[in-house]
């Protein structure tokens, strides 16, 4: 309990530090929004011409997008500092984290506040609204209750992946190229329904790098779609389990990594 209080204090401090730059706050959110509007705009351009993508209509695509945006937004809120973590390792800044009586991971996670979450939540909610409307989703109590669970599972998946990539910095020092590929570029995979890829890639995105669980599989449940691609009905509900597995492995990797930390020569 006390630990939670401590983390909240740390978090409050990082928010305070972030608010020093209040002027750019709104513009920052606007810029992120513009980026996603551009991305959705391109989807729109394609669907305007081709009507659907492997059986997924505009509304369904937008819903797919909303699940992703929510998971990503909350992940940014909690795991944002991990993106630049390699700098802490290279400069030896991680030293001071280790000499405090608090979990190193907790300290790193709460040392920065990421405002982009707001933008993602705006995008996510808007997409959710229009997506449900266009795709004609029938919201039952079941679906409404499961929605946060699925988003939570998605957060564990993206957060776990982030943590694993971060831990690589303990061995390689710099990991920006990996961060770029695994955290940012790979997002592009699930901007589209996963059944557009060949079976090998679908397998990869399901069982090895399981980001298909963030939106593709659970979307079937919400949209009442029947199976396609690699889909087995059981996978529809696989998100929380995938999340827990990924996150557990990532915590383990992180622990091993911390013991491998080399600090710096000066």
């Amino acid at each position: 309990m006390e630990a939670i209080k401590i983390y909240l204090t740390l978090f409050a401090t990082s928010i305070k530090a972030r608010m020093e730059y209040k002027a750019s706050f709104l513009f920052y959110i606007f810029a992120i929004l513009s980026f996603y509007i551009g991305q959705i705009g391109l989807l729109f351009v394609l669907l305007n011409r081709f009507h659907q993508i492997k059986g997924w209509t505009m509304g369904e695509m937008v819903f797919l997008y909303s699940l992703h945006a929510f998971a990503y937004g909350f992940t940014n809120l909690i795991f944002s500092q991990l993106i630049n973590f390699d700098k802490m390792v290279v400069d030896g800044e991680f030293d001071r984290v280790l000499v405090r009586p608090l979990s190193p991971l907790g300290q790193v996670m709460f040392s920065k506040f990421e405002v982009s979450t707001a933008a993602h939540l705006i995008i996510g909610s808007t997409a959710l609204y229009f997506g449900s409307h266009l795709a004609g989703i029938v919201w039952t109590l079941n679906k409404a209750l499961l929605f946060p669970v699925i988003v939570g599972g998605g957060v564990l998946i993206t957060g776990g992946i982030r943590l694993m990539v971060t831990a690589v910095a303990f061995w390689t020092l710099r990991n920006q190229s990996l961060v770029h590929t695994v955290i940012f570029s790979s997002k592009e995979f699930i901007n589209y329904p996963v059944n557009i890829y060949n079976n090998g890639m679908q397998f990869f995105l399901t069982f090895i790098f399981p980001i298909a669980f963030i939106n593709f599989y659970p979307a079937h449940f919400f949209l009442d779609r029947s199976g396609e691609g690699l889909l087995h009905p059981a996978l529809e509900m696989g998100t929380p389990i995938a999340g827990i597995i990924v996150f557990t492995i990532s915590i383990f990797t992180w622990r091993v990594g911390v013991n491998h930390y080399q600090s710096t020569g000066s």
């Binding site: 730059y21 002027a23 750019s24 513009f27 920052y28 606007f30 810029a31 992120i32 513009s34 980026f35 509007i37 551009g38 991305q39 705009g41 391109l42 351009v45 394609l46 305007n48 011409r49 081709f50 009507h51 659907q52 993508i53 492997k54 390689t172 710099r174 920006q176 190229s177 990996l178 770029h180 590929t181 570029s185 790979s186 592009e188 995979f189 589209y192 557009i196 890829y197 060949n198 890639m201």
Partner: protein, 266 residues
């Protein structure tokens, strides 16, 4: 700027890139990931119809476009935070007392950066893609020459765009939102994902008054053979015109920034 000095800077910047073997490898994976996603997307879209030509592209043509536009984009990789960094840490003041033009020095750094990415990423990705995908590139010497011109012009344009964006740091504390906004516009309008031909009519006027299509789309379609050789010159002329316009903007902003630097001491 003295060409010898220019080459010296190119070489320094090139060497800075060659640091981590791991990074090189991940860089190739990253580029190929995009190629894979977009070729899969186009295949899925085309497979839904009996017609084989959409907006003037056969499946082979659109796959060729997807591979080459990514190759061009990767070749254009540059560090757009150099100028920003120099303004922020005050080292831009050094540029005032150097006899060399800051724009050309920045260009040299970018060229070094890009040469490395061409060698370490573009070439391997294109080679892999030729083996995996059905690609056709017309081999006409004149066309290759025209492509080279157009490619270089596009390169200078992007360099100028990044340069002006970086100079905004004279007036704004945080320019990351600007960079993101620039990136959003670039992603949508440059044709890096969806070629301009697929854009709905109402967007065409907007596309035409912006410089972005001259950065990726036109160099690429010159190479793929979509533009008849007889029309190539008009495109290159338009590119040169944009270079002129951007050049004026660059130097206006630079002299305004210099004035601010001298008066306020940065």
């Amino acid at each position: 700027m003295n060409p010898k000095l220019f080459l010296k800077f190119v070489s320094i910047s090139f060497q800075k890139q060659v640091t981590y073997r791991f990074d090189c490898f991940v860089g190739i994976v990253n580029g190929f990931l995009y190629v894979f996603i977009f070729t899969s997307l186009w295949k899925a879209l085309y497979s839904q119809f009996d017609t084989t030509v959409h907006n003037g592209f056969t499946l082979t043509a659109i796959i060729t476009y997807a591979v080459l536009v990514m190759a061009v984009k990767i070749s254009f990789t540059m560090d757009d935070s150099i100028i920003y960094g120099k303004v922020m840490d005050g080292s831009i003041a050094m540029e005032l007392i150097r006899p060399t033009s800051i724009f050309f020095m920045n260009l040299a750094e970018n060229v070094g950066h890009s040469l490395f990415h061409i060698m370490a990423r573009t070439v391997p990705i294109v080679i892999i893609s030729i083996f995996i995908f059905d690609i056709s590139i017309p081999f006409e010497p004149v066309r290759l020459l025209a492509f080279l011109f157009s490619f270089l012009a596009g390169y200078v344009l992007i360099s100028m765009l990044n340069f002006t964006a970086g100079l905004l740091a004279f007036w704004f504390v945080e320019i990351f939102p600007f960079m993101l906004f620039k990136y959003a516009l670039f992603t949508f309008f440059a044709g890096g994902i969806v070629p301009i031909d697929f854009f709905p009519e109402f967007l065409k006027p907007l596309v035409n008054i912006l410089p972005f299509q001259y950065m990726l789309y036109f160099p690429t379609v010159i190479l793929t053979g979509r533009i008849p050789l007889t029309e190539v010159h008009s495109i290159i002329i338009a590119q040169l015109m944009w270079i002129l316009i951007m050049g004026v903007i660059c130097s206006l902003m630079w002299s305004a920034g210099k004035k601010k630097l001298v008066i306020q001491g940065g």
